[in-house]
């Protein structure tokens, strides 16, 4: 499967990845550009984030689409599934019951409820509709995140 790999030493915390993610997930992303992206609009939440450890190192937190996904094992509605072919962990908003047990069970704290309504989960979809793949990776200026094929 494909995974976004992380080279922490290269991350300088610019958050281009988060901006690209917000742009890629705004409702009108196909007809708009990042130049008029409203960064304060909570409808455009980023699926990734960069955290700081106590030494102020940048720690890019991106969904791993885990081999043994705890979010899938916690899901009571069938919304969260591991795609047997692509290896991605997929989230179906229509099926979701908004119980947020996936948020509780993600060992890395990647997932969150949406800020606006708390009715869905904000989760990396690997930019499934975008032929060019994940926008965060393309936006990273330092190569701190890159895509690689890893064994399932």
């Amino acid at each position: 499967m494909k995974r976004i790999l992380i080279d922490m030493d290269k991350c300088d915390g610019c958050l281009n990845c988060s901006i690209a993610c917000m742009q890629a997930h705004r409702a009108d992303h196909k007809t708009s550009s990042v130049y008029d992206l409203d960064l304060t609009d909570t409808a455009n939440e980023s699926r990734n984030t960069i955290l700081l450890d106590s030494q102020e190192h940048y720690i890019p937190l991106f969904c791993r689409h885990c081999d043994e996904p705890e979010c899938v094992k916690a899901c009571m509605s069938g919304a969260m599934t591991k795609d047997e072919n692509s290896g991605q962990v997929c989230y179906d908003e229509d099926k979701c019951g908004a119980c947020f047990m996936c948020v509780m069970n993600c060992p890395y704290g990647v997932l969150k409820p949406d800020d606006n309504e708390r009715k869905r989960v904000i989760k990396c979809d690997f930019c499934e509709d975008d032929e060019e793949g994940p926008n965060c990776v393309r936006a990273c200026p330092t190569g701190a995140i890159y895509i690689e094929e890893v064994a399932k």
């Binding site: 720690i59 916690a74 509605s77 800020d115």
Partner: protein, 410 residues
């Protein structure tokens, strides 16, 4: 090899799928009293008309064909003969090589007044319960709900969505007393009250009055009586073991299992609520998976037994609660509260033993692992609510994350 699974819930269907993947050639049969696959956690959405028989399912419509699993639905198991290795149900018998009992629990109605006999008293555990509640609620005005735990409030929430204003009686002094501290619980109580519900907290139901087989009033220990034309009892559950008599399978309140989820009989396993190790969905799924692996000869122990964890979401107010909710003497308690949130962390000997996050539970999954793995945080130079996975971050060569603190502890 024939694997038989009793129960089409979280544990049963996870096991069925796991066996199919591990053993493409084996026969897998699921038998369930349920006629529709349903997630108990979504039954309130059925009552409130948000979902129907199909959309309360937690698996795809083609699940049984896709995984080549035989499903005997709407069949109740009445007896297990563990020496003949045979299951009897209403309508037939099934032979098995391995058996998984994943029958969940049933709601318990306390023997107070005529609660157990009256026709307008309902539990909420099965889709059939939700169907009955929905039908009865259509004509009901005065609805009393006994028990303000998660199941009781699920029922109340659904009824509120239907425009009802239930009255809730609860023995404890706060709602969700097993899940939250009083402060966090109070926020939900206030929201339910705003929606028109009334709460009798710290009260016991002592009796009932009835007419024509129906309860018309419930009596409380303060002498008050509440009129009702319908009652929902959410006062606890009991593992569904009623068919185990004379089966040779050992059980007390729940089925006795070892760390591989095997019963006292070789080849017979139990998983989910009926094994008594937990009463929550994620653990039932995990137990189903692990029991299935063992049924296929892949020895694996059930080690992730931590079960003191909940998320709550009513009226869009979300809460995460993991571990202990009230501090003991000597604990250090951190509280961070503002208009939008209430966060509480309890630390003992430099480790977090409990956390409640209400209002914003973004990126909060790491807390469970911090708590259940008893990872020290007093050596991290950060305010407690700024802790995140960044402080324990490690990544392997396949790009998967893991916890450094756990690696250190071996």
């Amino acid at each position: 090899m024939r694997h038989v699974i009793i129960g089409a819930g979280a544990a049963g269907l996870t096991a069925a799928k796991t066996i199919r993947i591990l053993r493409p050639e084996d026969a897998v049969t699921v038998i369930s009293a349920d006629e529709y696959v349903n997630s108990r956690c979504m039954l309130h959405k059925y009552i409130s008309d948000e979902r129907d028989e199909q959309t309360v399912s937690f698996v795809d419509e083609d699940f049984f064909t896709k995984y080549d699993i035989q499903w005997l639905k709407g069949k109740r198991v009445t007896h297990i003969d563990s020496s003949a290795r045979r299951v009897s149900y209403d309508g037939g018998q099934l032979d098995f090589d391995t058996l998984l009992i994943a029958t969940g629990s049933n709601s318990v109605t306390p023997p107070i007044g005529s609660l157990r006999e009256s026709e307008n008293v309902f539990g909420l555990r099965h889709l059939t319960d939700a169907q009955a509640i929905k039908t009865a609620a259509a004509d009901a005005q005065d609805i009393v709900v006994i028990g303000a735990g998660l199941v009781g409030l699920d029922a109340v929430y659904a009824l509120v969505e239907l425009g009802k204003k239930p009255v809730v009686v609860e023995m404890a002094d706060s709602v969700l007393a097993l899940n939250l501290d009083a402060h966090a619980a109070g926020a939900y109580q206030a929201l339910f009250e705003q929606a028109g519900c009334e709460f009798y907290l710290g009260f016991k139901v002592t009796g009932t009055r009835e007419k024509d087989g129906k309860i018309t009033h419930v009596e409380l220990d303060n002498g008050e009586s509440l009129p009702c034309d319908m009652l929902i009892v959410a006062a606890g559950v009991r593992p569904a073991v009623e068919f185990l008599q004379e089966s040779g399978i050992a059980y007390e309140r729940a089925i006795n299992v070892d760390e591989y989820l095997k019963t006292n009989i070789d080849g017979i396993y139990a998983a989910g609520d009926v094994a008594g190790l937990s009463g929550i969905w994620p653990n039932a799924m995990k137990q189903g998976e692990i029991a299935a692996k063992n049924m296929c000869g892949q020895q694996e122990a059930y080690t992730d037994t931590f079960a003191v964890k909940n998320t709550v979401n009513f009226f869009g107010l979300v809460t995460l609660s993991v571990g202990e909710r009230e501090a003991q003497e000597g604990d250090v308690v951190y509280i961070l509260e503002d208009r939008t949130c209430y966060n509480k962390a309890i630390l003992r000997d430099g480790k977090v033993v409990g956390v409640i996050l209400q209002g914003d539970i973004s990126n909060s999954g790491f807390w469970q692992y911090l708590i259940k793995n008893k990872i020290a945080v007093d050596n991290i130079d950060k305010p407690v609510f700024k802790l995140s996975f960044a402080d324990f971050f490690a990544i392997d060569d396949k790009g998967e994350f893991y916890w450094t603190a756990m690696a250190n502890e071996g």
